[in-house]
Symmetry: C2
Subunit: 382 residues, 2 copies
């Protein structure tokens, strides 16, 4: 069977025979002509055929054309079809300046006449029919952005000599707080789901790996129903030896984010802007850095006092600080540094001059904390 | 602090000041001169200094040099050090044709005098001290090969428009056989660990993703203690729409393996050959294909009858078939195709002409099954 062409590839092809395949977006069944908007994973294209409503004994292919016209008349939105036809570039066609004249159309998988979700369906209903909801071009685009972003990050790490590791998700003991631990029967004993690859990536340093990264699931038995908590999430981790301070870690952190956003801007920037009205901005480096104590002063000056007794920023504090950074430096990112020792785990290194502060940071992006970093404490006797 | 140079980068640097860091491999403490072989994640380098055994009142740095000599005399193998010195290219130095004359040496983390594992330690003991065992260059190399191989595969997928997905590992129901399912308490209900991303990657097709891939952990509660079973493993998965048959899947499968092995051969081929005595061979395409029924005939002709009643190949059958392919075609890989319907899951498509056979395959590599593929059955009424 002739190979299908993706919709996105059509604009570069010459006029002539093509095979396209995807699902029916809409059908316009006019008296003399029929249009099908076909969508695939790369875009949408207009298919067209003259409608043949009656048998014409003098035309050899009349029965075939009549059957095609009737078939198109029955197509439901969402039905998967494969179409053989002739590509014709034509500036007058609004959708991409080209169309495909249908020679033959095969129904591969038929959709129900009434789709279970519509434009205005609730999020719960959409999630019940997730595979249909993902056909929306904006939903598809999110996964493409993720693919490009991750691949650019991994490429930066690989090009810089980092080793990719796959750490165990079934563990014999907890890696972070025991409170958020999923527990399970493991044959005769008990296992826990990894909350983080933290200790494994740290142990890769005395193993002499130099620098490592991992993108993998992590699990936290956290029943909070907020956008900041999830029982399962994809954790992006890196760790490297021989840093002088957390400044080296922040420099690496900046580099992978810039690599990721550069790739997204180049490959998908216009699509993201068109779909979401958000231009993809590649940030300048270095990102602004603000010590936590100074962040509190900035927030106080803006009339906001962080309510948390331990001094950590709350979500509103993060939003306010990002707003300040945007106004002052025109930057989407900010490293909040030098967290108090009392609110950081034991493996964050203390300041050389002040044991109440750590060589650590959180990274905020447009008002939300997206990651945490630190220089590790390797001294057993601290 | 001056940035460290990796050992591998030294050969391209001019003579002059450098910082190197890693762990002590060996110390040769001679009367007049001391040598330290330093190892890092990229290789090994010889450090050298004149031994100063007595204070010389006429030399300004005499006390400092004496202290350095004494410090080097106490270094244990495995101790992490950071060294400032002068790089000198010198053809007479067997190890890489260069050495570093030590100016200053800092002990960063001291090793015990007696390492808990040695060259001849048992595998159990090695695994107890995994982070030390991984310092062996051959162990490190395995992870570098994995990194390069995976990245080349992902690059092929990304370049060919595949979307990377991260499918849930906590599931509400089983995805394969219920027998090998890990079960756990999930708040008020029960969850299962994903045995495979199978159904998610299939559902990505009606979602209109076109083609997807994932490299992620999978879990099987299989207590067998063989090299072919593991409770947790890294599963490499891809799935694509619009295939004409499993031939299209095999073509993709070949392409990613060739991409992976090409990258390994280019970047690490000589190291792999030196460490393991195994040249990295990039296979020619297409790989040989042998239908399962024909495989049985070949094995019978070699005097081996597969003992399994269901007709699937056993490990010895796989080894024998790979030996035949190596002798006959000089190839390390073979696709065994057209598996009997009775030994394949329901989602493997049946042959158009013979419902007892499926459009499926296993891939053998040097005698071991490394993967399984098939055209999916999308017809509900089969």
């Amino acid at each position: 069977m002739a190979k299908r062409s993706t919709v996105a590839s059509l604009s570069a092809l010459p006029d002539g025979d093509v095979v396209v395949a995807g699902w029916v977006d809409t059908v316009r069944d006019q008296k003399a002509v029929q249009f099908v908007i076909l969508r695939d994973e790369t875009g949408a294209v207009q298919l067209v055929t003259k409608a043949v409503r009656e048998l014409d004994p003098e035309a050899a292919d009349s029965a075939e054309r009549l059957a095609l016209t009737e078939l198109i008349g029955t197509l439901n939105a969402g039905t998967f079809i494969r179409v053989t036809g002739q590509l014709a570039h034509d500036e007058r066609v609004k959708l991409g300046g080209l169309e495909v004249k249908i020679s033959a159309l095969e129904v591969v998988a038929e959709a129900q006449p009434e789709p279970p979700i519509a434009e205005d369906s609730s999020i719960d209903k959409r999630l019940d029919w997730r595979f249909l909801d993902l056909r929306r071009p904006e939903a598809n685009l999110i996964f493409r952005v993720q693919t490009v972003f991750e691949h650019a990050m991994r490429t930066w790490w690989v090009d810089n000599g980092f080793i990719e590791i796959h750490t165990p998700k079934l563990m014999a003991s907890a890696s972070e707080s025991r409170a958020e631990l999923f527990e399970m029967q493991y044959f005769e004993t008990t296992a826990y789901l990894a909350q983080s690859p933290q200790f494994f990536k740290q142990m890769a340093q005395p193993a002499g790996f130099g620098a490592v990264f991992e993108i993998a699931p992590a699990f936290r038995a956290d029943p909070s129903f907020t956008s900041r908590h999830a029982t399962e999430f994809t954790s992006i981790d890196a760790e490297m030896s021989w840093v002088d301070s957390h400044e080296d870690v922040m420099a690496m952190h900046e580099s992978v984010i810039v690599a990721g956003l550069t790739a997204v801007a180049e490959k998908l920037g216009p699509q993201v802007d068109a779909a979401f009205g958000v231009p993809v901005v590649v940030p300048t480096t270095p990102f602004p850095r603000i010590p936590l104590a100074e962040a509190h002063e900035i927030l106080t000056a803006r009339g906001y006092t962080v309510p948390r007794a331990d001094g950590d920023l709350d979500p509103e504090g993060e939003r306010q600080l990002s707003a300040y950074v945007k106004e002052t430096f025109g930057h989407d990112f900010v490293f909040v540094t030098d967290y108090f020792t009392s609110i950081r785990p034991f493996y964050h290194m203390r300041h050389e001059g002040d044991s109440n502060l750590t060589n650590s940071y959180d990274l905020l992006y447009n008002g939300t904390e997206i990651s945490t970093g630190a220089q590790r404490e390797h001294r057993i006797d601290v």
